[in-house]
């Protein structure tokens, strides 16, 4: 029994205990235990994952566990990576979730809503959710995969609905989430069933051997279907609509788990099916992936830039980052298809490294948003501000996360974005004429990535600067207080992870390079060499995050010392903000998030189409004297408002038609059953 097995056993045991735990009487203990169990799941995941990443493989089969099939688990390096990721995220969120729940409180008359929950279901669901996510990548055959996938979907749905009692929107979000995730499931189901029937076996190992023999039509059908399904889970445009609804409404630790861990499983699916089972495939698959990725990145970052709800902003930023990751994957596949393995390896490495980075900082950021929400009951950036003085730890952690998310040095996001850009800019040959498709796609891809990066900076400066700096814009923000220790520990863990990834990226890179070996069309070569500097192999290019960080710090120290030495040591005086001598400056006069995003929103008017309404109330004495002016701006998700209503209308029409079938007579329903049975038997008789 290897370490992998032990880890996975630990995961399952913890999940089992979660069910028992639900019987514990006191809500507090339940909350604590559920957090602890989630940590256990995470621990198991980390153990199993790291062991698998180091190369130990493991597989187990449980016959008779599933009808008409058997439970089959196989762990290779690829699944190891994702098991590890999910485990790490679960570990941090588990600790965090212990302190999160908060009963509704009555403060000066007004009741403040509850956070988290004390309901048995939700508390039991948390470890189960983590366990399901850890186990999905270990599935060794189609049925097991689908069962675990559906388990994950259902449990997460239960978690999204946690707070439905306190807020009605939650129910709405739950419906959207359920609909989208099951639409995705249908696509995946179709894809995998077609694949397994055509390949004549449902075990991944055998599919891997027989799949290359399949007709290219079948392969493409399978790939496109699975891309749709996994893409919806990964929150790619236009199937992203569930993210900005579910993430804000779910409790923040659940949002963290979903946004940092679950979406990655969409990526896992695409890698597993596209690169492993189907072994690469033609180039247009990956150009498609690249295109969708670029669109998702741009659309996600534009919506995030315009969003004023902190958690909605983070949800859209997930779409953005997954978009960047899929740009990398798509480009890697494109070059793998034409046998340029060096480039393919580099780009794939960039993609998986960015996955890891994104998992780290998105966990951190959602925890931070949760901390703010818990202590101020605010998600609206326009009402925040001044939290830096009231919640110093949370602010520091969120600052680290925001730095990473904006892809600036010395953050960890920068490393992977740099690798991605290096891969893209070296895609054209130094001499001679390049391939047409590459020559057209790559400049546009670079432009898209660059614009995404630029807007990402603006987005997170807005989120951090408006939300945490300067003076509070509302009573709630002014009354904020630091959150309990367990939550801080959870955030600190994620922050440390970000720091390590930023300063010493080579250790994770070494581990990730071994993952590439699982994908035959890419092969395990080392795209990156070097100790302190990241040196690209086969391409001249190098960059050293550690030295850059040290240089920045050293320069800062040097500058401070010199300036202090030269200047007269006058102490810094705190004075009122300069308002052109204005006498009645109030914190409400600070720039809000809406105002901050206004110029960019106006530049991208054609994409965002914000709805403004201004109402001016005059004094009744004279309409030349303005009593108050009220300005509201709403940026709705245009893809959602344009694309989905027709679909829903169509679905309704089908529903209306279907109603004719049911008129309440039991006999008729039974007759349907009989007819169905007869049809099946006939079909069998004909085919056999």
């Amino acid at each position: 029994m290897t370490l992998v097995g032990a880890g996975l056993l630990l995961v399952s045991c913890a999940a089992g205990l979660a069910l028992l735990m639900a019987m514990a009487p006191s809500a507090r203990t339940r909350g604590f235990v559920s957090g602890a169990l989630t940590c256990l799941v995470g621990l198991g995941g980390v153990l199993a994952g790291s062991a698998a990443l180091l190369g130990s493989t493991w597989s187990a089969t449980a016959t008779h566990l599933l009808p008409l099939s058997q439970g089959e688990l196989t762990v290779d390096r690829l699944s190891g990576l994702f098991v590890f990721l999910v485990g790490a995220v679960a570990l941090a969120t588990g600790v965090y979730s212990m302190g999160y729940p908060q009963a509704p409180r009555h403060v000066e008359g007004m009741v403040q809503p509850a956070h988290g929950t004390t309901s048995r279901t939700a508390q039991a669901a948390l470890p189960l959710f983590a366990a399901a996510m850890v186990l999905v990548p270990t599935a060794g055959n189609v049925t097991t995969f689908l069962v675990l996938w559906e388990l994950m979907a259902l449990v997460s749905l239960a978690l999204v609905l946690t707070e439905h009692r306190s807020r009605p929107e939650v129910g709405q979000a739950g419906i959207w989430y359920a609909a989208m995730t099951h639409a995705g499931l249908v696509a995946i189901l179709l894809a995998l069933v077609i694949l397994s029937t055509e390949a004549g076996s449902e075990s991944f190992a055998e599919i891997r051997d027989t799949a290359p023999a399949l007709s290219s039509g079948t392969q493409s059908l399978v790939f496109v279907l699975s891309f749709v399904g996994f893409g919806s889970k990964a929150g790619l445009v236009p199937l992203h609509v569930w993210l900005p609804r579910a993430h804000p409404e779910a409790p923040s630790y659940v949002s963290a788990l979903m946004s940092a861990a679950m979406v990655n499983l969409g990526l896992y699916g695409v890698l597993r099916v596209g690169f492993d089972l189907l072994g690469g495939g033609p180039r247009w698959w990956w150009l498609l992936v690249l295109g969708v990725g670029a669109l998702s990145a741009l659309y996600g970052v534009l919506q995030a830039m315009a969003a004023t709800d902190l958690k909605r902003l983070l949800a859209y930023s997930t779409t953005e980052n997954l978009g960047l990751i899929f740009v990398g994957v798509g480009a890697a596949g494109t070059f793998a298809a034409t046998g340029q393995r060096t480039l393919a390896g580099l780009l794939m490495l960039a993609a998986v490294l960015h996955t890891v980075n994104h998992a780290a900082f998105k966990t951190l950021l959602f925890m931070g948003a949760g901390a703010v929400l818990r202590s101020t009951h605010l998600r609206d950036l326009d009402a925040m501000g001044g939290l830096a003085r009231r919640m110093p730890f949370t602010t520091a952690f969120v600052g680290i996360g925001a730095l990473a998310a904006s892809g600036l040095p010395p953050g960890n996001g920068f490393v992977s974005e740099w690798l991605l850009l290096q891969g893209l800019i070296h895609s054209l040959p130094v001499s001679g004429t390049p391939d047409v498709a590459v020559a057209i796609v790559m400049p546009l891809a670079v432009g898209a990535v660059a614009l995404t990066a630029g807007l990402g900076v603006a987005t997170f400066v807005k989120a951090f600067g408006v939300g945490f700096l300067a003076r509070p814009r509302s009573a709630e923000a002014a009354a904020a207080a630091e959150v309990p220790g367990t939550m801080r520990v959870g955030m600190a863990a994620a922050a440390v992870a970000c720091g390590l990834l930023a300063l010493a990226p080579l250790a994770p890179v070494r581990a990730l390079e071994s993952v590439l070996g699982v994908m035959p069309s890419i092969g395990d070569r080392r795209p990156v060499q070097g100790a302190v500097e990241l040196r690209l192999s086969g391409i001249t290019g190098s960059m050293s995050p550690l030295l850059i960080a040290l240089g920045l710090a050293g320069g800062a120290v040097l500058a401070t010392v010199v300036v202090r030495g030269l200047g007269s040591g006058r102490p810094r005086r705190t004075a009122l903000v300069w308002g052109c001598g204005g006498t009645r400056l109030s914190p409400r006069m600070q720039y809000t998030a809406t105002a901050y995003a206004e110029p960019l929103t106006r530049v991208f008017d054609d994409v965002l189409r914000p709805e403004h309404d201004v109402d001016v109330t005059h004094y009744q004495e004279s309409r030349y004297l303005v009593e108050s002016v009220r300005y509201r701006q709403r940026v709705s998700d245009r893809l959602e408002t344009r694309l989905y209503p027709p679909l829903l209308a169509a679905a309704n029409r089908w529903g209306q038609m279907a109603r004719r079938l049911q008129d309440g007579s039991v006999h008729r329903y039974l007759a349907y059953g009989l007819v169905g049975l007869l049809l099946v038997l006939m079909a069998l008789g004909v085919t056999a």
Binding site: L576, W578, G581, T583
Partner: protein, 166 residues
């Protein structure tokens, strides 16, 4: 381009530099720019505390091409935080009193106040007008005051050069 031609034809319009300041004019305190620590650079924030804009016109021409006050290291700035000298014109009206104080407090030490024109010194012709609170020295400590209604650009230049020491 026609503009370039005009520039070439016009050439230099600034008059030759005036003789460097002797410590006397407008320097009651008698401190030199080195004592204050300005040493050849003065950034000026101008506040119109209720002036008739006569002084403003003279300030504009002092900074204009002909007199070119900038050549002596004097520059107008937008924010009192960047400023060393507060250039106040006009009598201080009731409404401008608080803003003037705020502007003075917003300036980092060491700072100097220049009261420009008769109105700034002693309310001039606006003395005892109902809207007038008082002279600048009634609101903020004045270091240099420039007489005249309005003061000539030469006077303004002399006062500010006294501060910059160039």
């Amino acid at each position: 381009m026609s503009l370039l031609g005009k520039i070439r034809r016009t050439g230099r319009v600034a008059e030759p530099a005036l003789p460097p300041p002797v410590e006397e004019p407008g320097q009651p305190s008698g401190e030199s720019s080195a004592d204050i620590g300005f040493r050849g650079s003065v950034q000026v924030r101008h506040v119109d505390a209720g002036s008739c804009n006569g002084c403003e016109i003279e300030i504009a021409s002092a900074f204009g091409p002909v007199y070119d006050l900038e050549r002596y290291g004097v520059r107008l700035v937008a924010s009192p935080r960047h400023a060393d000298a507060l250039l106040v014109t006009g009598p201080v009206t009731h409404n401008m009193r608080d803003p003037l104080v705020k502007a003075y407090e917003a300036m980092p030490a060491p700072k100097r106040v220049v009261a420009l024109g008769d109105c700034a010194r002693d309310c001039g012709i606006f003395a005892d007008a109902y809207g007038v609170f008082g002279a600048v020295s009634d609101v903020v400590p004045v270091d240099v005051s420039v007489p005249g209604c309005p003061p000539t650009p030469e006077a303004i230049i002399a006062a500010l050069r006294g501060l910059s020491g160039r």
